[in-house]
């Protein structure tokens, strides 16, 4: 682990160093280019001015002025040529081709005549006409600029090593900082993995990317801690809800084995046992279903469905049950309401809401099922005249197995609302539980889920 961090540090330092060097090289190149442009322009103006000055002299002073320019430094050059291009005076062997007598400097190659011989030289040169026939050429070597380039090159070479060292140092420091944080994280995450779920990652500055990541991971850990806590409770509740019917089944079978006189008695006991086992199986089926809905992405079966038809069927299904318990089951909707969802799951949610409302409403009470639009949302509302759900309990009723204590006597595994919650969540709807008189539960389907 450590050596991996080490090599990461070195790689980082190298990468930062290289990037730094590249920047320096680009910078120097730019400086060099800009200086060359500046110097060329500067010398162009200079020779243009000199050519004008010489041309403005009386014709008798021309040759003298030209000779004066032909310096021994081999930088400046000048020449006067006749119309045929033959040299009259100066240190330029012949009239350079491509040169136009317009008084504007251009880059040409000339043959320079010095006391010790001739040589070609790259110059900036300007040509003007003297009177009607002769041409004056004034040039200036640009090879002199090479010296300047050498200075820049040397500066670059000299600064390169220290710059590289500095860059590597900066890189090492930066990556060391990151490494130290990651090592600290590794240690903390190790502790969390080992089971210390209360541990959290440090957040130093809120804006730093590392700290943002820490904050997200901390939020995730909060959620995991909560879920693990819930899981422990669910485990207890599952055990309890399974044990009760199973204990009954066991007692029934045991009694029948010891006491049954006839096959019919035995069969009666078996039937009772099957009912008990079915209850236990129902708990397991419901749990598996919730898990499947919560973890599944069953959006493939989503389509445009008529909520009114679905809820209407659910109401009709429960009508005889409500009737038997002398509960008035009212509906407040008529027209089709199209929403996007899974028909079977929405039916299950509606059925569970109605089932729940009927279960918790005392005889002679009333359950109302309504569908309406509110601020563009489609709302399915199930209200009853039962004992209601206390404010403190509203959050937890959708958790698995939670059942308000006062209604603990009502039959059912307490999974209905958690199933509804899972279905609602899968659809991207909202569940709202309010107290009225009694209890009001609303499934709010946002407009975005409506078909366009």
């Amino acid at each position: 682990m450590f050596s991996r961090f080490r090599s990461t540090t070195i790689r980082w330092a190298l990468a930062i160093g290289c990037a730094f060097l590249l920047c320096i090289a680009v910078l120097f190149g730019f400086v060099y280019w800009q200086t060359t442009v500046y110097l060329t322009e500067h010398f162009d103006r200079l020779i243009e001015r000199q050519a004008k000055t010489i041309a403005a002299l009386p014709p008798g002073d021309w040759n003298g002025a030209v000779r004066e320019r032909a310096d021994p430094d081999r930088v400046a050059s000048a020449g006067i040529f006749d119309t045929a291009g033959h040299r009259i005076s100066g240190n330029i062997a012949n009239l350079p081709s491509h040169l136009v007598p317009d008084g504007i400097a251009a880059g040409v190659t000339i043959t320079r005549v010095d006391p010790d011989g001739q040589r070609a030289q790259l110059v900036r040169a300007v040509a003007v006409k003297l009177g009607y026939s002769e041409w004056l050429v004034v040039g200036r070597s640009i090879q002199e600029d090479d010296a300047f380039a050498k200075i820049i090159e040397r500066a670059l070479a000299l600064s390169l090593l220290p710059a590289l060292a500095l860059a590597m140092l900066a890189g090492a420091l930066l990556s060391k900082g990151a490494r130290q944080r990651i090592e600290a994280w590794t240690a903390l995450v190790g502790q969390i993995y080992a089971g210390n779920l209360q541990q959290r990652l440090p957040v130093i500055e809120n804006d730093h990317p590392f700290d943002k990541l820490s904050a997200i991971i901390n939020g995730m850990l909060d959620h995991i801690e909560e879920l693990v806590g819930q899981l422990a409770n669910v485990g207890n509740d599952v055990a309890h809800d399974l044990r009760t019917p199973l204990t009954r089944v066991r007692a029934t079978l045991e009694r029948a084995r010891d006491n049954a006189q006839t096959v019919d008695e035995l069969r009666g006991a078996a039937d009772r046992a099957i009912v008990g086992l079915d209850q236990s199986l129902n708990v397991i089926t419901a749990l598996l279903r919730i898990a499947a809905i919560e973890h599944g992405r069953r959006t493939t079966e989503f389509g445009s469905v008529d909520l009114a038809e679905i809820v209407g069927t659910a109401v009709e299904l429960y009508d005889p049950i409500a009737d038997n318990r002398r509960i008035q089951l009212d509906t407040e909707f008529k027209d089709a309401v199209a929403i996007v969802g899974d028909r079977d799951l929405l039916f299950e949610a509606a059925a569970n809401l109605i089932d729940n409302a009927i279960k918790f409403t005392p005889e002679g009470g009333k359950v109302s099922v309504a569908i309406f639009r509110s601020a563009g949302d489609v709302v399915l509302q199930v209200s009853d005249t039962g004992p209601g759900i206390g404010e403190a309990e509203r959050e937890v009723v959708t958790q698995r197995f939670y059942r308000a204590d006062k209604s603990r006597r009502a039959p059912g595994a307490g999974l209905g609302l958690s199933l509804v919650a899972a279905i609602v969540k899968l659809h991207g709807f909202r569940l709202d539980i309010r107290g009225g008189p009694g209890c009001i539960i609303e499934v709010i389907c946002p407009t975005e889920s409506l078909p366009r």
Binding site: D271, D344, A351
Partner: protein
């Protein structure tokens, strides 16, 4: 030592005797069936034994294949009346078997068994060409009822009247009579009775009724369907009349004609 073995043997024998008594009685309560040939493709020995035991006991001829490949070979003969195919098999997957059979134009009805909890599974099973889908764990009566239903699929007739025993349904007027007495049925009760009359003397389970009459996949509390059926029975079987709708304890309902 030998005494223990003897008592264990006795216990097993006693259990078998008891089983036979119960079993033969159940057989009596079920309608007679021609010796239908079934093919079970199931890799799990325990499940297979249970199914084979129950179905042979009920008079079916059952062949079991342990692997998908073997099962597919047997199914290709086309000599079975119903195939019972496990969804997850080593080698060839259950759905793949159904798909290749349907491609080869073998239309034997298929009941898919699956332990997969995923919600889409049923849809996938039916889309692949399965005719019914049962998720594990299931009650054996549910399996038997569904096999019966596959064996005796109601003819999709264009008839306008249904007659079973003294019962008569007019599918156009949506009116029902029993021996001349008009039955005042709610729309859902009418559909419930129609479903039963299309399957006379055949057991229908609550889940089947729910799927086909209410048209929703849902596992309702068992008494939910019972309450509806109770209301229907109350109207169909008036006091003093021979009851037609019978409750099969722990399983479902039968509309009996041989009264």
């Amino acid at each position: 030592m030998s005494g223990e073995i003897a008592s264990a043997t006795n216990a097993v024998a006693a259990y078998r005797r008891l089983n036979n008594v119960v079993g033969s009685k159940q057989l009596e309560s079920m309608p007679d069936r021609t010796m239908a040939k079934l093919l079970l493709i199931e890799d799990d020995d325990e499940t297979a034994e249970e199914i084979v035991g129950e179905l042979t006991h009920r008079g079916y001829t059952l062949v079991r294949a342990e692997t998908g490949t073997h099962g597919l070979d047997l199914a290709r003969t086309g000599e079975h009346d119903v195939l019972i195919v496990d969804r997850l098999l080593p080698g060839i997957d259950g759905l793949a078997i159904i798909e290749s059979l349907r491609r080869e134009q073998i239309r034997t009805p298929v009941l898919v068994l699956s332990a997969l909890g995923a919600l889409d599974e049923r849809v996938r099973g039916l889309r692949a060409g399965g005719d019914d889908y049962l998720s594990k764990p299931f009650a054996l009566v549910e399996l038997v009822a569904r096999i019966e239903a596959l064996l005796r699929r109601p003819a999709v007739g264009r008839e306008t009247r249904l007659r079973v025993g003294p019962l008569e349904l007019d599918l156009i007027d949506r009116s029902a009579t029993r021996g001349g007495r008009t039955l005042d049925l709610l729309p859902r009760e009418f559909r419930l009775l129609e479903y039963m009359m299309r399957r006379p003397d055949q057991m229908v389970t609550r889940a089947m009724l729910f799927e086909d009459v209410w048209n929703y996949r849902f596992v309702p509390d068992s008494n939910l369907v019972d309450v509806h059926m109770g209301k229907l029975r109350h109207k169909v079987d008036a006091p003093g009349e021979e009851p037609l709708i019978h409750n099969v304890r722990g399983a479902g309902f039968i509309l009996r004609t041989n009264v």
